[in-house]
Amino acid sequence: MSTLEYIIWQILGYSAMPLILLIGFVGVSVFTVWILSLTSDKERS
């Protein structure tokens, strides 16, 4: 693996970590908002 290739993969690898957490947050948010819109927040526009 060349140095450039190594650097690119290291950057991609480490930037994947916050991305994973962000995707988790968005996923949980979407699910929670959806559940709430079916129950407590049903009557709200």
Binding site: L12, G13, A16, T32, L36, T39, D41
Partner: protein, 191 residues
């Protein structure tokens, strides 16, 4: 776009639900997400997953001491080829996406193609292990607890000098311990 703005609007407004319910849903959702993520990570660490592309070399380990031995302790692919700590594991998994792409493109789609590329793949893996000081070997084999009186003369000589000083690392000598060696011509130290 409307869906996103609608979602954002809902996210910015207080809910009618109790604070405890909202926090509870976030907490449970977090556990479920993390559980699912780690289950996925573990699934891609399984021997069956590795064998789906690398079957010929996964079978080779069955002839080695890392598969069957007197103590019944065995290593699977990920024990040696995937870092154990979380951050390095994620980096390796992201790098492996390139390998999935290569497989999809058919680089090693047949046994013939696989054996033709074998040396290239082996050299890359040896280099990776050399760069991390054979970390995956050291997850199980601890130099500090090596009993030289139980080792052969040649092992004692190499371990007490080159390995102890850090001049060499495990994989410099221990190539092909779980798989057959490829053509070793022009590999340093193997003339």
């Amino acid at each position: 776009m409307k869906l996103v703005s609608n979602f954002w609007r809902k996210l910015c407004k207080p809910s009618n639900a109790a604070v405890g319910v909202v926090i509870g849903m976030g907490f449970v959702g977090g556990i479920l997400f993390w559980g699912a993520f780690n289950t996925g990570m573990e699934a891609t660490n399984s021997e069956a997953f590795c064998a789906s592309c690398h079957e010929p070399i996964v079978n080779e380990i069955k002839e080695t001491i890392h598969y069957s031995n007197r103590s019944g302790v065995r290593a699977i692919c990920s024990d040696c080829h995937v870092p154990h700590n979380w951050a390095d594991k994620i980096v390796r998994k992201v790098q492996a996406s390139k390998e999935v792409f290569a497989f999809v493109m058919g680089n090693i789609s047949t046994e013939e193609k696989f054996y033709a590329r074998r040396k290239h793949l082996a050299l890359r893996e040896w280099q990776r292990m050399k760069e991390n000081d054979s970390q995956e070997c050291r997850n199980c084999h601890d130099f500090d607890f090596m009993d030289f009186s139980e080792q052969g003369q040649r092992s004692v000589k190499q371990h007490s000098t080159a390995l102890a000083s850090g001049e060499k690392t495990c994989v410099d000598c221990h190539k092909g311990i779980a798989h057959q060696l490829p053509d070793m011509s022009d590999v340093p130290g193997w003339q």
